[in-house]
Symmetry: C2
Subunit: 225 residues, 2 copies
């Protein structure tokens, strides 16, 4: 299935031309992003929390402490909505009204199920580690059985999902193009500075390649597609 | 009031040491961020949407098309939660379990009221414009009466608010410090590349200073504090 079904729940309503429902676009945005925002509504009252995510195939994974309110709520199967947003630039139109952002975002609706088995949990934690820094899992001290037990992993099917994308130059009202006002795009992106070694770093340990040349681009990291 | 009241609604539950309730910390995070994530729950079902925001004093402002489902929902006074997140770095601990992010986030709970009067709306749109690029309002073509009418502005009191901040090096289990594993922080930030002039840019128009030296730091821009 190259395309997600378009339903009342995931259809892009505002500016529908910006909507994309193909797996490739949706997955690429999820994979490039470092954080997501999870909305849940205990007692019908909405709350939103930033957290890390990972993707394995058509599942979005979230994790947290077993004691976390969010994790307990999601493990109980309550509805959830997750937004993942990449900011690509500021669009300065001649008019304030048409000024905008270039962005790529995904919103997923659904509900989660806890990953209960130890092997599944371990695979999920590997996916989180690789989502953050590809190559890190091989180097780091793996989770102990106790640490695994203290962690809840939630899997949400990526199905009621839609991407929304704006790119390119400003689009002004035709009459405004004659105004003597500069217009254009300021490209933006999440960039890494030089890695800062831990003050307690052991002697002779050099910065690994994934920390030296870190970038959040689809080419710079990867997950199972 | 230098500090927001701590209640059951805004208290940081997970890792309470990372919680901050002082106005200065909360405002600085809101002002530096370019996007927020708004959670609402029509019929009790949570939805989350990324959008721009601005701050004027102790009010968080959102805006959108008069036709937007979110704007109508918020104008009706339904509860809302807004998260604003700045990603500052990746924390690579020796163990996967203690690996983390450096971040500054704010979550606000409350409900909004529409800004109805024309002067208030215009001031809000100025705040949005300045939030995106300080100095732009003076240059751009201001909103017409018709454009103002097509725009809904929602004001949410910043009151049930909390910031959550992690900074600094990894914190590993004491026993793990002896492992021959590199650890440290990869600093991250939203950075601007060279501005791209509109292909239809009028002759003789040069890139303004705010687009040439653009940065998302508190010093790089400002709002009424």
């Amino acid at each position: 299935m190259p395309q997600y079904p378009i339903t009342a729940r995931n259809r892009v309503r505002r500016l529908p031309k910006r909507g994309h429902y193909d797996r490739k676009t949706v997955h690429a945005i999820i994979d490039e992003a470092l954080v997501c925002h999870v909305a849940f509504a205990p007692g019908g009252v909405p709350t939103v929390i930033p957290t890390l995510h990972a993707r394995v195939g058509d599942s979005l994974l979230l994790h947290g402490s077993k004691a976390s309110r969010l994790m307990k709520h999601l493990a109980d199967g309550h509805p959830v909505s997750v937004a993942i947003t990449l900011v690509d630039g500021i669009v300065l139109a001649r008019s304030v009204f048409h000024s905008s952002m270039n962005y790529r975002s995904v919103v997923i609706h659904g509900s989660g199920t806890p990953v209960e088995d130890e092997a599944g949990k371990l695979a999920a934690l590997e996916a989180f580690s690789e989502q953050i820094a590809r190559g890190r899992w091989a180097d780091a001290r793996k989770p102990s059985r106790k640490e695994l037990k203290a962690t809840t992993v939630i899997s949400i099917p990526i199905e009621l999902a839609a991407a929304k994308v704006r790119s390119g130059p400003p689009l002004d009202d035709e009459a405004d193009y004659d105004l003597p006002i500069w217009a254009g795009v300021l490209p933006l992106g999440l960039r890494a500075d030089t890695a800062i070694p831990d003050p307690r770093l052991g002697r002779g340990l050099t910065t690994p390649a994934y920390a030296r040349r870190y970038q959040r681009t689809p080419a710079g990291r990867s997950n199972a597609s």
